[in-house]
Each structure stands twice: as C-alpha cells, then as structure tokens.
Amino acid sequence: MQDAVLAMLAKEPSHGYGLRARLRQSLGPLGESMNPGQIYVTLARLEKAGLVVSERAHGLPERPERKVYALTPAGQERVAAWLIEVDWPKPDLAEFHLKLVAAAATRLADPVELVAAQRRELLRRLREAQHALLAEPAGSPAALLLEGIVLRLQADLRWLAACEQAWSKVDREAEDA
C-alpha cells in the first residue's frame, strides 16, 4: 500500500487528508476501516526513506495534518517502476487443499464437512461483496474493484464445488470397499 500512496502523489503534492479521501473514493467500502492515523504513519515512513518531502503550510502549527507532501526524484523513480512491474496476488489454494488431503489421510476430520464449512464462509463473503457492489453507482472505480472480488469468490466457490464432488466420491468408494 506504500507504493499506492506514493503513486497518488505523482500527480501533485497533497495533504494527508486529501490522499485519504482519494484512496477511499477508489476503494469504496474496502477503504472504510482505514483510519486517519495510518496514512500519516505511511507518509512518515516514506519521508524517512527519502521518497517524499514535506513542507509545513505557512504560519500554521507543526502538526502532520498541516503538511503538504511531495515526491522526491527517488520517489518519482519508484512510482515509475511500480506502475510497470508485473505482479499478481497468489491464488493461495495449496494450504486448503493439503488440509483436505491430511483430513482424509488421518481421518481426524471429514474433508466433505471442511469443504461445506468453507463454502458457507465464502458465500457470506460473496453476499457482503455483492451487497456493497449493488450499493455502488455503476461504473465507479470502487464498483470495478468489488466486481473483481465477487468474481474471485465465485471462482473459489466453483473450485469448492469440485472439491465437494471429488471428496464425496472418495467417501463413497471407501464405504463400498
């Protein structure tokens, strides 16, 4: 998230609260729990790293919310590199998959039950994301982000349906044997 804050300063220098407002607009409900203090902590770290400089607005007391932040040349370079970097969040399914394998091998838990519990949880998350999406004006940046979250959850739920079928079959074969 440090990189995102930095990139927002690339257009023009800004106060911390201006950055926070822009982040919240782009993130919609995902940005709601972001507290005001976090952005100043991030900005202080970036300043320490020499990526931003701050200037106190004239004649006002020294408080972080009065400062205007701007990119340094090093900050500019970092933003340019970040924007073209090819990176993607990992679809981290291996751990859950291994959990099912372990449950079946040790007979300490029923894989089909584990899948069902996970499915219920993901459906609740999907419901929440879907609700938030319907509440956003169509075409807003936050709606686009929520659509991505909804589609990923949908893909995960389809995978869980495949898991459920496969492990039920293993169950039945074990019973028949």
Binding site: Q38, L126, L134
Partner: protein, 243 residues
C-alpha cells in the same frame, strides 16, 4: 412468523418399474413470508422438480404442499390452474414470453386472465415496467429486446397479480454479468418490500444474495445455511495501509 410455503415429506418419482427414480426424496421445507430462499445443487439433483411441485406444475408422488395455510397438492386441476394464475409468479431461464405480444401486453396478460379490467391491467403493467426500468420499451416485441430486458419483462409479468410467492428457475442462466446484476437489484427491491421468493440457481452470485440457501443432492437437502444478518465486516478488513 407467517409461513407462505410449507412442504411435508415431499416425494416425486419419475419413470416406471426398474427405471423408477426419486427426483425429490422426502423433503420438508418451510419458507416464511418475506424470505428469499435459494436452492442450489448439481444438474439432476431434483431442484427444478422441487420448484415445479411448489408451484403446482407437477403433482407429488407422496407428501403435502401447503401455500399460505391451504393444501394445494389435492386441488382439482381447475382449482390448481386458478391458484397458479393468481397466487404464484413464475420466472423461467428461457423467459417464456409470448412472442406476438408487446412487453406491456405480456405483463397485462396474467392480470386479464385473473379477471382484472383492461384499465387496471394496463395500470399495473405500466407501474411494473417502470419498476424494472423498461417504460421506454413497453411497446416493443420480445424479439426486439435483449435477454436481460426480456427477463425483466418476465419478472414484471410474474408480479402482476401480487403473488404470494415468486418461483424462479435459473433466472440468470441465460444472462451476462450486467443483466444478472439488474435482476439481482430487482430481487433486492422485492425483498425490501417483503415479497417471498424461491430461486433455483447454479449462479453463486444469485445464491449468495438470498437470505437462506439450501443445497440439494440426489433429491435431498444436504445443507441449509442462513446467509442473512451474518455480515462479517470482512470487506473493510481486506486492506491495510501497512506493508
């Protein structure tokens, strides 16, 4: 709690002798007024048959179907047809609109069949098409509408007689993402107004938007999950500025 749909020991068998299959196997279900219930399950699990039994489109082999306190599986064919027309709204995957009639006429038709005056039917159709955002398309034939628009006409038609329950069979099965969202928005509004809905679906998005989800397999319910009022605050926790 007013129960709109009540089902006891419901069984439906198809076929004869050796090839006899239980499509629905001893199902019990209660849907209270205002609940949106989704039914999911693999193809052939019996979910569409269940919906047909609830709507009086098929008769059960055994068990009982009650609608708003009235037993319906024992009604005569004629009384059942009347009940379907007046008290149940159907929405199908393939829309089932009358191709020769305009959008407005399609919506008016069930009202006229239920004995409404022309004027009253026209008024209701106008209101409903406005609610589904199709006032400007009222005079169009179904062939002149997109899939999403046709399904919205079908939903308006399902609502025209203020049914006790709307039964929807794969309502978004033929729709793209944008049209699916339109349908979900309409269902959301209906829920807010206290309409009872039973939706059979393959679509996780539709299922997740329901208050309650039952999963079917081999004609039986294998899971019954309450989704409403279980918000986890998960979305707000997805993003931290740190890191």
């Amino acid at each position: 709690m007013n129960v709109v749909v009540r089902v006891r020991g419901l069984v439906k068998e198809h076929g004869q002798g050796q090839s006899r299959v239980r499509a629905v196997d001893a199902v019990d279900l209660e849907v209270p007024q205002g609940q949106t219930l989704a039914v999911m399950g693999p193809s052939g699990c019996g979910k569409s048959t269940l919906l047909h039994l609830l709507g009086g489109l098929e008769r059960p082999t055994d068990g009982e179907v009650w609608l708003a306190g009235r037993r319906v599986d024992t009604l005569t064919e004629r009384a059942l047809a009347r009940l379907r027309r007046r008290s149940i709204g159907f929405v199908f995957q393939a829309f089932h609109l009358v191709e020769e009639l305009s959008a407005a006429e399609n919506v008016e038709l069930p009202a006229l069949l239920a004995g409404c005056s022309r004027r009253e039917a026209r008024r209701r159709a106008g209101d409903l098409l406005e609610r589904v955002g199709l006032t400007a398309r009222a005079r169009h034939l179904p062939s002149e509408l997109s899939g999403g628009q046709r399904q919205r006409v079908a939903i308006a038609r399902a609502l025209v007689n203020e049914p006790l329950v709307v039964l929807a069979d794969e309502p978004t099965g033929n729709l793209d993402t944008a049209a699916t969202l339109d349908v979900l928005r309409i269902f959301e509004d209906l829920r807010a107004e206290g309409q009872t809905l039973v939706i059979v679906t393959h679509d996780e998005r539709v299922a997740a938007s329901a208050d309650r989800l039952v999963s079917m397999r081999d004609g039986m319910f294998v899971d019954d999950t309450r989704l409403a009022g279980t918000g986890t605050g998960w979305l707000g926790g997805l993003i931290g500025l740190e890191g």
